[in-house]
């Protein structure tokens, strides 16, 4: 079992995706002048989300929507609930201001698409099958925690000025129609409508080169995360520990739920990964708009500079090992 785990760990650490991520961190640390153009960053994001959604949609059309509903609802519920215990923990354990606690809780209830993709990559690498429609879990887990977090934060704050009055409405709008959810859900529907026939046409673009594109993207994400490392002093030891321990707890929880809704070993791992992952794009953007009083260093840094690298490198094989353990 232990040997198994180190095997799984090194399989992850020596994959091109993770190594390019490490290279990106090095680039940031030595202040290399390597820089991805913004347009490339956006393009890679669009590609990864579209490809992911499309594949997921095709998988749903094969498996039938009935099979997907229960685990998807479970995933959504999990995302909604996570802020409810992370908030008091941060508020009273971490002595954080209410608005900061709410913002961080939103991040850890929400999910990271890149972490999810890296996990599917990892499963493919070790030839472990998984439910391709798991993308649907990703799609439904992004927004609920953000909404809960913002509501928690709002309850502690006074009224907003005129321009921002509609902010709750625009938050809900963003949660449903925001860039990433829109692309993911849209491509999911397209994939579900096309099915296998459509997949045959676009497979050489959306599927075959996917892992390579991910490796290139993680090089950039390594730079983005690496630039945040210098902010770690600002967040203090409590949040650093939080950024490692909570993913492990949530990973466990996700794995257990995955088992109870009857997912395969691969799917169970993925639900663990989703629960463990924290958002560093959708959630921070929502906080800046809807909880501008919260301190970005406190919510973005742990999520981007601790939890994200931790999950990418060590977390994923850990959640896989947990899933294996619980499923036997």
């Amino acid at each position: 079992m232990q040997i198994d785990f180190f095997h799984a760990l090194s399989a992850n650490l020596l994959s091109p995706a993770v190594l390019f991520f490490a290279l990106g961190i090095v680039a940031a640390l030595i202040k290399s002048d390597l820089k991805f153009p913004e347009a490339l960053y956006v393009t890679l994001t669009i590609y990864l989300l579209t490809a992911l959604g499309f594949k997921g949609g095709v998988a749903i059309s094969e498996a039938g929507i009935a099979k997907v509903i229960l685990p998807a609802l479970t995933a959504m519920l999990l995302g909604t609930l996570i802020p409810l215990w992370t908030y008091p923990l941060l508020r009273f354990g971490g002595k954080l201001r209410p608005v900061d606690a709410a913002a961080i809780a939103a991040h850890y209830g929400s999910v990271s698409a890149v972490t999810f993709i890296t996990a599917t990559n990892y499963l493919k690498g070790i030839n472990e099958p998984y439910e391709n429609y798991a993308t649907a879990f990703l799609a439904v887990m992004e927004s609920p925690a953000i909404i809960v977090g913002v509501l928690l934060g709002k309850m502690t704050l006074e009224k907003q000025s005129s321009i921002f009055n509609g902010s709750l409405k625009s938050l809900l709008r963003e949660a449903v129609f925001g860039r990433s959810v829109f692309l993911l859900v849209g491509a999911l529907i397209v994939g579900a409508l096309c099915g296998k026939v459509g997949m045959d046409k676009v497979e050489p673009f959306f599927v075959t080169p996917f892992q390579g594109v991910l490796a290139l993207f993680l090089l950039e994400m390594g730079m983005v995360a690496g630039q945040r490392l210098s902010d770690l002093k600002k967040v203090g030891p409590f949040l650093v520990a939080f950024g490692i321990i909570m993913p492990l707890l949530h990973g466990c929880l996700g794995v257990l739920l995955g088992k109870y809704v009857g997912l395969s070993l691969g799917g169970t791992t993925l639900l663990g990964v989703l629960a463990a992952s924290s958002s560093y794009i959708a959630a921070p953007a929502a906080m800046r708009l809807s909880l501008p009083e919260a301190n970005p260093a406190l919510y973005l840094t742990p999520s981007l500079a601790i939890t994200f690298p931790f999950n990418i490198t060590i977390g994923i094989p850990v959640y896989f090992a947990l899933a294996k353990f619980f499923l036997n």
Partner: protein, 100 residues
């Protein structure tokens, strides 16, 4: 050729302020604007241009002096506390006064 004095208000801020800002411009009565992505550094840290959501934009808007005053004072009251932002005004001379 007749040129007329106008104010150019320049606003540099995080991209997240984009939509509220556009709304404000319409409210104070600006008839147009120009906008582009920039990098920057200021009291709220460096803004690189990778993650779209965290990038900076520069908005330039030509307005008659009273509108400029209204715009700046609403920026001060409603935006400065919420967004990384710099705003300033410059005297310019335009053709076709009625356009602004």
């Amino acid at each position: 050729m007749n040129t007329h004095p106008m104010k150019l208000v320049t606003i540099i801020c995080e991209a997240l302020a984009r939509e509220p800002l556009k709304k404000l411009l319409a409210e104070v009565g600006a008839h147009g604007y120009t906008l582009f992505a920039v990098e920057g550094d200021g009291s709220q840290g460096r803004r690189t241009a990778d993650i779209q959501e965290f990038a900076n934009i520069q908005v330039e808007v030509i307005v008659p002096p009273p509108v400029a005053e209204k715009l700046l004072s609403r920026l001060e009251q409603e935006f400065f506390a919420k967004f990384a932002m710099v705003a300033y005004e410059t005297d310019v001379r335009v053709l076709r006064r009625e356009k602004f």
